[in-house]
């Protein structure tokens, strides 16, 4: 499944990285403590978090995540958005919380 298909199925809004929506998503991860996530985020994962800052963009980029999904409508700050656009890293947003969205994601990726 690609980031684009995920966005359509889960009604996510794309905030950055429109050109990388064809990346495959092979898994998911949830976490907000960045140092913790940094040690565990799988490659090509959709990362569900409320951390919309530049450090989160750095973690996703370092771990080569497929996308960041900001849950609970958590904000993406300007510096982070600009960097995500520069790196072409997909950042999406959902009104659902990480638990609710994680359940849906798990159903989709089986």
């Amino acid at each position: 499944m690609t980031v684009k298909e995920l966005a359509e199925t889960l009604s996510l809004t794309v905030l950055a990285g429109k050109d990388s929506l064809n990346r495959p998503v092979t898994g998911g991860y949830t976490g907000d403590l960045l140092s913790w996530v940094m040690a565990r985020l799988p490659e090509n994962a959709a990362w569900l978090t409320v951390m919309g800052n530049i450090n989160a963009v750095a973690v996703a980029s370092l771990k080569d995540a497929a996308c960041i999904i900001l849950t609970d409508s958590a904000p993406l700050d300007e510096q982070a958005r600009d960097k995500a656009r520069e790196l072409d890293l997909a950042v999406l947003t959902s009104r659902k919380n990480s638990y609710e969205l994680g359940l849906k994601l798990a159903e989709l990726l089986g």
Binding site: L34, S35, W36, M38, I54, V59, S61, L62, K83
Partner: protein
């Protein structure tokens, strides 16, 4: 990180990579002011003003193996999440000082954690460097200075020998207990009138 002491370890590692011979770790807890200040000072290679201004940017690193450096940015974020701040002062050829302040009562405050173990590990794993650890808790404080230890022990005894390691460990533990005593006494005084 789950403990601020792990951040201290990370920042001190930067000092070691910068060739520092002396690293000063200063932990100052002020209960009434609701403030924790952690300061790491080194005499390493230092940075230009431009470099120093950029170390809080995770996409700035002098490392060539990867493009992202999150040590200082995460430490800064953790401080700011509590309403505190982080600053970096550096001079090329002189050294660098990283100062982080925290508001311990904030709900997002990350505990200081086992700072003594961090200090012990830094000392014993970097025998060729000197460390000064200063821990102040309100009016009580203590300092451990490896230069003083070397002076007493002489050049033949290594700081990472089992006996010395054990001694440093006990010293850190006893001194910490001492500076925390007053705080405990104060709690008792505070409740005695109820």
């Amino acid at each position: 990180m789950r403990e601020l002491s792990l951040n201290v370890m990370d920042i001190a590692q930067n000092s070691i990579s910068a060739g520092a011979k002396l690293i000063v770790i200063d932990v100052c807890e002020e209960t009434k002011a609701d403030r924790l200040t952690i300061r790491i000072t080194d005499d390493g290679a230092g940075m230009t003003a431009e470099q120093a201004a950029r170390v809080t940017d995770p996409f700035f690193t002098t490392r060539t193996t990867r493009k992202v450096g999150l040590g200082v940015p995460l430490f800064k974020m953790e401080a700011e999440m509590t309403g505190g701040s982080l600053s970096v002062a550096s001079e090329k050829g002189k050294g660098t000082t990283v100062t982080a302040t925290f508001v311990p009562s904030h709900v997002d405050m990350i505990p200081l954690g086992d700072i003594n173990s961090t200090v012990l590990l830094l000392i014993t794993c970097n025998e060729d460097r000197d460390f000064v650890f200063h821990h102040k808790l309100d009016s009580r404080e203590f300092t451990l200075d490896t230069r003083e230890l070397r002076e007493v022990l002489g050049n033949e005894v290594r700081l990472n020998s089992p006996e010395v390691t054990q001694w440093i460990k006990s010293c850190l533990s006893e001194e910490t207990q001492f500076i925390k005593e007053e705080l405990t006494n104060e709690v008792f005084r505070g409740t005695s009138g109820d």
